[in-house]
C-alpha cells in the first residue's frame, strides 16, 4: 500500500488542488474549479480541460471515483467525484512530503538569512 502511494508522488499542482478540494466533500467539476480558486485566493485557477484531463487520469488510477448518476444533485449534466481511500493516503503523503520540504527549506534558509 505504501509503495502504491509513493508511486504517485510528487503530485502536480493541479492534482494536489483537486485532491484538496475533494478532501472535505464530494464535488462536481465546476465545484472543484471554484474550490481550487478559493484555496489559492484566486491566484490559481484550473480550466475545465485541465480539470477533466486530471480527473480522468485520477479515476483510472483509483485515486478519485465518479459517483453514480443518482448520487449527486439529480442534474444529469453534473457528475460528482469522491476521493477514495487511496486518494486520501496519497494526499496525506503528499502533504507530509511538502511539510518535510518546508521544514528542510527553513533549516537551510535560516543561516543564510542570518548571514545577510
Amino acid at each position: 500500500m505504501k509503495s502504491d502511494v509513493q508511486r504517485h508522488l510528487p503530485l502536480t499542482p493541479a492534482t494536489l488542488h483537486i485532491l484538496l478540494a475533494l478532501a472535505s466533500e464530494d464535488l462536481h467539476g465546476y465545484g472543484i474549479m471554484q474550490a481550487v480558486a478559493r484555496q489559492s485566493d484566486g491566484r490559481y485557477k484550473i480550466g475545465p480541460g485541465t480539470l477533466y484531463d486530471s480527473l480522468e487520469r485520477l479515476t483510472e488510477q483509483g485515486i478519485v471515483t465518479e459517483l453514480e448518476s443518482g448520487e449527486g444533485d439529480g442534474n444529469p449534466r453534473r457528475r460528482y467525484y469522491r476521493l477514495t481511500s487511496l486518494g486520501r493516503s496519497i494526499l496525506g503523503a503528499e502533504l507530509d512530503r511538502l511539510e518535510a520540504v518546508i521544514t528542510r527549506a527553513r533549516v537551510e534558509l535560516g543561516p543564510a538569512k542570518a548571514r545577510r
Binding site: H28, G29, Y30, M33, K45, G47, P48, G49, T50, Y52, D53, L55, E56, R77, R78, R79
Partner: protein, 340 residues
Amino acid sequence: MLLRRTYALLIRLHPRRFRNRYGQEMLWIYDEAVRGDRARLFADAIVSVLRQRLLRDVDDAVSPSTYNRTAGPVFATIDSPRLPLFSLWQGGAATVLAWFAIGILITPGPDRGRLEFASVHYLIDSRVHPPRVPIGATGLTPPLPPPSSTAGIPYSAADLNDDTSALTIWAKVLSVFRIKRSNEDAAGVNSQVREASHRLRMFPFTRNEKLRSARTILVWPALPAAQTRTDQIFRRLDRNWDGRLSPDEIESAPEVLRSLDQDWNGKVTAEECGLLHATVAAQQRAAGAFGILDQDGNGELSEAETARASATLRVFARDRDGSIALSAINERTRRLGVSQ
C-alpha cells in the same frame, strides 16, 4: 451564442472518448462561468484539444456493446454520421467539374437565354454564330474570320452579344477575371471585354473541336500580349484579312471608319475603335493605324480626318501595287517608340 458555438466546436475537436465523457460538463461550466472568465475557458479548451490529441491516447473506437444478444432482438447503435472533410472536398470538386461540363455541353439555340456577367449581357443565340474557320497551323495567330452579323462591316459593340457558344462564354468569363486583375475601371472592363470578344474570333471551333478549343482558350490568357494584340484599326480596314490594305480597302477606309461611329456624332473615338481602356489609350492612340489617321492627336477621328483617311493612308502605300503592309504601320509605331 456564437461564442458558445465556438466553444462547443472546440469541445468537439477533442477525441470522442473525452468529449463523450466530459463534453456536456465542459459546456455546462461554460454556461455557468461569468463573462470575464470565458476567455480563459477558450484558452484552456485549445490547450486541452492539443493535449488530448498529441499527448493522450486517442482511442476513438466505438466501445463494444454490452447488450445480451440472446435475450432479445439485436439493435445496432450507429454513431452519429459525420461527413469526412475529404468527402466535402470531393463533393466541391465534383460540383465545379459538373458546372464546367454543363457549360461545355450547352448547345446554342434560338434565344436560349441571356447570361449576365460583369454588367455585360451575353445573348445565347445561334442565329448569329460566327462562321467556323479551322484553327491555323501555328495555333496562335490564325486569321480572323469576317464579321458575322453584317458582311463587310467590322465588329461593333453589338458583337458583344452575338455569341453563342458556351465555350466562348466561359472564355469571356476568363477574360473578365483577367481584366479585373489588371484594371477595375468599369469602362475599361467593357472595352477589354470587347477586345476579348474580338480575340476569341481567332479561336473558332466546331463541335468536334471542343477539346482543342478548350485547350486553346485555357492557354489563351497566358499568351504574351504581343501575340494576341493586333492593330485594331488595321484589322477593321483589312476586310479580306490578308494582312495588307489593298488600294480598294484604302479607298473604302472612310466608309469603314464611319461605320464605327456608334453614337452618330460624326467622330470616331479611340474606344469606338476598340482600343483599350482610357489609362493606356493615350499610348495606343499614337500607335498603329489610329495614330496615323488621328493627325491632330486628340484621340478621335473628326469628320475631316475620316474623309481624308484614304489619302492619309496612301502615304504609307510603298508597295508596287499600292497596298500597305501591316509591317509598314508597325515600323512607324516602332520609330515613335510607343508600345502598341
